[in-house]
Amino acid sequence: MTTLNVDSSNVRVKVKAPVSPLAKRSAIAGWLMLAPWLLLFITFTVWPLFMAAGLAGSQTFGPKATTPVGFGNFRNLLADPLFLVACKNTILYTLGSLFIQLPLALGLALLLNRPDIRARAFFRLVIFSPALVGAAFSAMMFAVILEKRTGLLNLILNRLFGWDVQFPWLQEHILPSLIIASLWQWTGFNMVYFLAALQNVRQDLLEAARLDGAGPIRRFMLVTLPAIKPVGGFVVLLSVIGSMQLFELPYIMLSSSGGPENRGLTVVMYLYQQGFEAGDLGYASAIGWVLAVFLMMLALVQRKVSGDSEVQT
């Protein structure tokens, strides 16, 4: 950031003397090139954002009928049992994917990063490929894979370990179902990030630590982990942001509902139901703000923890 400032002031000093039209030309061109993006951005992001502030303070029925309610929406949210269930489900799912998926992704990345691995590109491709499927489509797949009598998972577990073919994944164990489906879909995606991060680990340091008698675990803790920490923080943040916005997977898998006893209801699904099924766009906006504030706080914490290394240039 600072170096950039110095640069620009230098240029300005140089330009000020005889070639001033050049700076003017650059300014016009700059706005010209920014304009198309800025126009759409203001219309479809900034304007809705301001509107979201107003909406959150009103009760609506569809886009036309509104009544102001002040902070009523937020007060109602705190006492709304369905919203609290949605928060609980979403947070449990997020923790599940954080503590199961990310260690697995890191472990696979460490394995794939070993120099003696053959067909590395093939393994990476296979493990990454579910990330291309898209949540709506993987929801369709897992709606059948996790079916009671006909589903792939129960059938395979039954053949291998005599598991109960009638095990009710989608009828009772919805949270584990969601975690399994997203494990298949996103582990490889996170692995690719960790693999990229592992390229920052200095081989000479690892070798030196090995010569000094440090075992594999100590080498990992002292050399590898500090080197991948910045990207690791980014991956954790990305994973939490993605998980907290879970919608398509349960919505489609559970046939457009939160499932039995709303065990698959998530925050964004509740936002969708309130806004577009019940028609209260104000209440939906209030839910959106709660989510946004929560995620922004997390992003701030992550920036503090990882020393602002990603966002700056």
């Binding site: 954002l49 291309l132 797949m141 059948v144 079916e147 006909t150 959106g288 946004a292």
Partner: protein
């Protein structure tokens, strides 16, 4: 000698583990293909292909195309494919063009308000999409854009994240000296972007186009909220509606899913290097 044996053993175990993991990740795909050709009763009876006395012990004659026939005759899958292909490619091109121009301008040109615009981009990167869902709907309603493709293309054509990525790429890949030289030769600023900067940004252009394409292709909530006419639905919505409430036609559901997933998988296989480098560049550079 001893260390060599243990090293070979270790490498063998690692490879075996990776093969096992790959099989676990591949099986749902193989099952998806197999299920799209099976009858409902065979889905329950066999894991992948139905067992019988045909070649390799598989009952090939019990596989059929009924799922595909139903899919193409009874659901708007064709119009879904056309809609998805149209929306994804138009949005990818527009979003890449607009954000590369804006990102380059913020990286390489100095103008009044430059700081403000940059701050706007940085703030916008962390706004979660669902917050804009309800107010975005009101804005689209006010502009009379509901139930049209514009409502999906225009908002997606101005991603803050794209500007952020292209600004970083331009800082790294476009040298100021080159721009100075072109300026002295009398090259106009906009022309300079297309002739000098854009070729240097090519890797990011490819990656960002792919990422945007994939994002639009798999987007469900956007079209679900904005579109009302079934004939306009893209694949994600069409396929999600293949799920019956009481009776499930597994073959048809999986045929539809396969038809939606396959084009993207093929595209990715052809362009995978650019894709992966693009995905990780936001995290690793900087």
């Amino acid at each position: 000698m001893n260390t060599r044996i243990s090293r070979i053993l270790q490498s063998g175990v690692t490879h075996a583990g990776l093969v096992f993991v790959s099989v676990v990740f591949l099986v749902p795909f193989l099952w998806l293909i197999a299920t799209s050709f099976k009858t409902n009763s065979d889905v329950a009876e066999s894991v992948l292909l139905p067992v019988g006395d045909g070649l390799f012990g598989v009952a090939w004659d019990r596989l059929n195309l009924d799922g595909y026939r139903k899919l193409f005759n009874e659901s708007p899958i064709w119009s879904g494919m056309i809609a998805s292909a149209f929306l994804a490619s138009v949005t990818a091109v527009c979003a890449t063009l607009l954000s590369s121009m804006a990102g380059y301008a913020l990286a390489k040109l100095r103008f009044r308000g430059h700081k403000l615009a940059l701050g706007l981009v940085m703030a916008a990167v962390i706004i979660p999409g669902p917050l804009l869902l309800a107010p975005g709907f009101v804005v689209l309603h006010k502009m009379g854009l509901l139930d049209s493709y514009w409502a999906l293309i225009l908002p997606a054509a101005a991603p803050a994240f794209g500007v952020f990525l292209f600004r970083q790429a331009a800082i790294g890949a476009v040298p100021d000296t080159l721009l100075e030289a072109a300026r002295i030769d009398g090259c106009g600023e906009v022309r300079m972007f297309f002739m000098v900067a854009l070729p240097l940004l090519r890797p990011m252009v490819g990656a960002f186009m792919l990422i945007t394409f994939l994002g639009v292709w798999t987007n469900f909530i956007g079209p679900q909220v904005v579109l009302q006419t079934p004939g306009k639905f893209p694949l994600a919505v069409v396929v999600a509606q293949l799920r019956g409430t009481y009776y499930q036609e597994y073959a048809m559901m999986m045929a539809g899913t396969l038809m939606s997933v396959l084009p993207v998988l093929i595209l990715f296989l052809m362009l995978q290097r650019e894709f992966i480098s693009g995905l990780t560049s936001g995290a690793v550079k900087g």
